[in-house]
């Protein structure tokens, strides 16, 4: 049994610190001395672009022992289907976990893109299938399909993609897609189908995940909720005669001492303005169940950072500092490793970890935390594994 630990590429720029500052890496704030990718040299833009920084994060991740990295996709980010091939020849082992919404790509074209990227990268493509948060953001993408239909469409997309991948003359008549005698041609047809990580917390999502996911991916939630969720997913998957595994996406702040780790959190929390809290409500009016579950942790109403410590080494304020999940892990290296071991015991077979800044934190987590992981061997004697 293996566990795959991914890092993350910051596709919407970042600051060199976890504290809330204008992002100086990338061009999401004005070009000024001290910025990079692009930066300023002799008073002029230096000719680098943001993909040059992303290349460094990917290399840092692969050197430090991560299996690859998640490449997120949102209205304000650069695009994963361009980033991954751009970095394919500049990396050796890094797996490109491309996040994408099936509704935006023709499934046959997606199959061709995937097979070619497998060929260009030596088989390093992985999918993170996302189905969107609904609301205004969904309409911004030009997608008016409602929540449950979107998951139905995702399922049909994967049926068609797998059909043209595995068969040479595949036909399909469905609610969202039609194909007649389609199929990848050689040599693209010889490429491996990517592993599928699947995101979504609703019932509609779980139905589609049970049929298609290799890994069911969830944000970190309070452990009891997560245990229940994973059990539900595994039950539904096994009912279809399949097996899948579960993975967790979680930010970490790991430092040599617990005091330093919480010190980072305190400084970051105190650097927030009132506006910052409102800024990350980008799933207001959406239909994402996962976002609602994170919202219930109450980050926006906290007055002190301590109010958001929901359990030892678990802080629920990450969403205030950047969009995304609220709950993350804070502690010294041993504590962070221990929490990850607990999650492995709970049922996690994979992780997508992240920390800001993503370059330096890849080194830190790779060098100091990953070597401490013991997995299910961490259990005391006499305690059952699950």
């Amino acid at each position: 049994m293996t566990i795959d630990i991914y890092w993350r590429l910051p596709t919407h720029g970042e600051s060199s610190t976890f504290r809330k500052r204008p992002p100086n890496r990338g061009d999401w704030s004005s070009l000024a001395p001290g910025n990079q990718a692009p930066g300023v040299k002799d008073g002029e833009p230096d000719g680098f672009t943001y993909v040059d920084y992303l290349a460094e994060v990917a290399r840092a991740a692969e050197l430090s022992g991560f299996y690859g990295g998640l490449i997120p996709s949102f209205p304000m980010t650069d695009d994963p289907w361009v980033i991954a091939p751009w970095l394919a020849r500049a990396t050796k082992s890094f797996r490109f976990m491309i996040a994408f919404q099936p509704g935006f790509l023709n499934p046959i074209q997606a199959a061709r893109m995937s097979a070619s990227l497998q060929r260009a990268s030596g088989g390093r493509l992985v999918y993170n299938i996302i189905t969107g948060g609904g609301g205004p953001q969904q309409l911004w993408w030009g997608d008016a399909v409602g929540h449950d239909d979107r998951y139905g469409r995702t399922g049909e997309f994967l049926d068609v993609l797998k059909g043209v991948w595995k068969e040479r003359s595949f036909s399909h008549q469905g609610k969202f897609y039609q194909v007649e005698n389609g199929g990848l041609e050689a040599p693209l047809s010889h490429a491996d189908l990517p592993e599928i990580y699947f995101s979504g917390s609703s019932d509609a999502a779980l139905v589609t995940a049970a049929k298609h996911a290799d890994y069911y991916l969830s944000w970190l939630e309070p452990f009891d909720q997560l245990r229940t969720k994973f059990a539900k997913v595994k039950e539904r998957t096994e009912a279809l005669g399949r097996k899948n595994r579960c993975a967790i996406r979680v930010d970490v702040i790991a430092r040599p001492t617990e005091e330093e780790a919480w010190g980072e959190v305190k400084k970051a929390f105190e650097s927030l303005s009132g506006d910052a809290r409102a800024q990350f409500s980008n799933w207001r009016g959406g239909d994402s169940v996962g976002a609602q579950r994170q919202g219930a942790l109450g980050a926006e109403n906290a007055r002190r950072y301590e109010d958001l410590i929901v359990a030892p080494n678990l802080w629920a304020g990450f969403s205030l500092l950047r969009g995304g999940p609220a709950l993350g892990i804070v502690g010294d290296y041993a504590q962070v490793a221990e929490k990850l071991d607990e999650l492995i015991t709970l049922g996690a077979d994979g992780f997508i970890l992240a920390g800001t800044p993503h370059l330096e934190e890849a080194y830190r987590v790779g060098e100091e935390v990953l070597p401490l992981l013991r997995g299910r061997a961490a259990l005391p004697q006499g305690v059952a594994a699950e």
Partner: protein
């Protein structure tokens, strides 16, 4: 320095689905250098390649050849048995950093918003080198294999909507559109995604509808290799339509060439390639003869050439070194005498 004032641009169309190579072997050769595909060799010859190389290494060599010999860009065709154009585009944009990159794709490949989103990142990373060649197969069987079931008659309308919506989210904020094929509500990119150069739009086709579409939307109209008189008539018609729209559209042509030092050598190699099933070149001859034919197209109004061959690595160097300079010189002299 004779290329200084040439109005011409030359692109090389890459081998998306393989390359005939030297045409000497019985088995089909793709120049796919991965272990499973490359020609076998006796085991007593030490082969250092192991699993290190693949087809993208060959594409990179052809791309760099185009770059070294003075081409302006790379065209990546949309072939059903070939590598997917967007993936090739990104891999090669990172490698050949001074060339324009022109993937071909159908208006059915993605939503217009997503195509625009991908392209914005491409422009950001490449310093604005992306072109779009939007072309859709007209025969229903091919399109149905790709999941595209609209009537052939609807293709120009869908292409037009695709370009309209993509341009809308590219250049506006709070962009609203509800069409037959694409829609968007409150769309549009925020900085730093906003403000990127719009891709150079290439369209093709011979019909009145397609010429009219180019008049409204294309930066370049790519004609297939046809006789000079046909090209002259078509470009005249296109120019009239474009004038009505208050626009100018560049005239391009796609040509497959087989050039050698002498016409005889060209003929011999052409026969050898034909025996291997390679596609027929549009022009076969000495480099001088080829340059003369391209010069005639220049006189008929062509300023963009998308050239290709059957032996891509060698041909990009041959054409780049021995044909391009003469055609540039002809165009420059022509422009000077017209001034």
């Amino acid at each position: 320095m004779s290329n200084e004032r040439s109005p011409l641009e030359f692109f090389w169309r890459l081998p998306s689905s393989g390359d005939i190579g030297h045409a000497g072997r019985g088995a089909s050769l793709r120049r796919d250098w991965s272990p499973a595909a490359r020609p076998a060799q006796a085991s007593f010859i030490r082969d250092a390649r192991d699993g290190h190389f693949d087809y993208y290494d060959y594409l990179a060599q052809v791309a760099r050849g185009a770059e070294l010999t003075g081409f302006h860009g790379l065209s990546i065709g949309d072939e059903t048995s070939g590598e997917e154009p967007w993936i090739v585009a990104s891999v090669l944009a990172a490698h050949a950093r001074t060339l324009k990159i022109l993937p071909s794709f159908s208006s059915a490949f993605a939503t217009a918003v997503y195509a625009a989103k991908m392209s914005v990142s491409f422009q950001r990373f490449s310093h604005g080198r992306l072109g779009w060649h939007v072309e859709t197969a007209t025969d229903a069987e091919t399109r149905r294999k790709q999941g595209d079931f609209i009537d052939a008659a609807d293709i120009p309308a869908r292409t037009e909507e695709f370009l309209t919506v993509a341009k809308g989210v590219w250049t506006e904020t709070a962009f609203q559109y509800q069409g037959r094929f694409f829609g968007v509500e409150n769309g549009g990119f925020a900085p730093p995604l906003a403000g990127q150069p719009w891709p150079e739009i290439h369209l093709s086709g011979q019909s009145d509808t397609e010429l009219a579409l180019s008049a409204r939307h294309a930066d370049v109209h790519l004609f297939a290799g046809q006789p000079i008189e046909v090209i002259r008539d078509s470009t005249t018609a296109l120019d009239a339509l474009a004038r009505q729209e208050g626009r100018t559209v560049r005239h391009g042509i796609a040509l497959r060439l087989l050039g050698r030092d002498s016409g005889d050598e060209a003929g011999t190699d052409a026969a050898r390639q034909a025996a291997r099933g390679a596609p027929d070149p549009d022009i076969i001859g000495s480099h001088g003869e080829i340059a003369d034919r391209l010069a005639a197209y220049v006189d008929a109004g062509i300023t963009r050439f998308v050239l290709t061959g059957n032996q891509h690595l060698e041909d990009v160097y041959r054409i780049g070194e021995h044909v391009l300079p003469a055609v540039h010189a002809h165009a420059t002299a022509r422009a000077r005498s017209a001034a």
